[in-house]
């Protein structure tokens, strides 16, 4: 079963008992799943349970060397979609992508990798 990883994450993040939810506070940091993909097409969804005022998320796909003590999309090892303004980020550069998302929204992430 694919779950939020307990050992592949910033330690300050709080993971739920069922390992399907995570809560952060203060500055951006990262958590990844227990399983990765390397070829083919894969999709996953995230629900924003709570997003208090002043909080934000950056969700997407990361490679192994992505910095866990920075937001996803900080370096060349990650690509993210931000809740605030719906901006996409890669290597610290934000570009317009969509309108923002927030509490109650369900977000889908598709990755298409070569089969070989």
């Amino acid at each position: 079963q694919v779950l939020l990883a307990l050992h592949d994450r910033a330690p300050q993040l709080k993971v739920s008992e069922d390992r399907l939810s995570v809560t952060g506070e203060k500055g951006y940091c990262m958590i990844r799943a227990t399983h990765c993909v390397s070829k083919g097409q894969w999709y996953y969804e995230v629900t924003i349970d709570e997003m208090p005022e002043g909080s934000a998320t950056r969700l997407g796909w990361a490679q192994e060397y992505g910095n866990l003590q920075a937001p996803l999309g900080y370096d060349k090892f990650g690509y993210s979609w931000r809740s605030r303004k719906g901006t996409k980020f890669h290597e610290c550069h934000g570009k317009h992508f969509s309108t923002g998302y927030g509490e109650g929204d369900v977000l889908g992430f598709l990755i298409i990798l070569p089969e070989v």
């Binding site: 500055g27 910095n67 003590q69």
Partner: protein, 155 residues
Amino acid sequence: SLPMAMRFRHLRETSKTSVGVFRSDIHGRGLFCLRDIEAGEMVIEYAGEVIRNTLTDNREKYYQSKGIGCYMFKVDDNFTVDATLKGNAARFINHSCEPNCYSRIVDILGKKHIIIFAFRRIPQGEELTYDYKFPIEDEKIHCHCLARRCRKYLN
């Protein structure tokens, strides 16, 4: 002989009367004793803004671009104290290859603090110094500590 936490509690007040910032022969300004300091005495905390280590590189580049001298002290693998824009007199303590003080990361009630201690008895008027212990790098920074066994470079 008192517990570390108790010694630390009084440090904020005592350091204001025990040390002061003056012009240094080593480099720019330095921290000097205003009274005799005993060996092992807690001198001052290196206080500043506590930041995550992932922020240090960008901050350093920003300070360099503005011509601001960078004053940072790494606490552990996660955090650094940045005293560049917010800090106390400890930021002025110069390096020496033969120092009279040393630094220690001390855990007090669950929080880590950088504390400067005296190696030996330091008479009034002497400049306080500690070994910065910079990692070795190709781009060298010259040392002007005036010590007999000066290592010539900070890094």
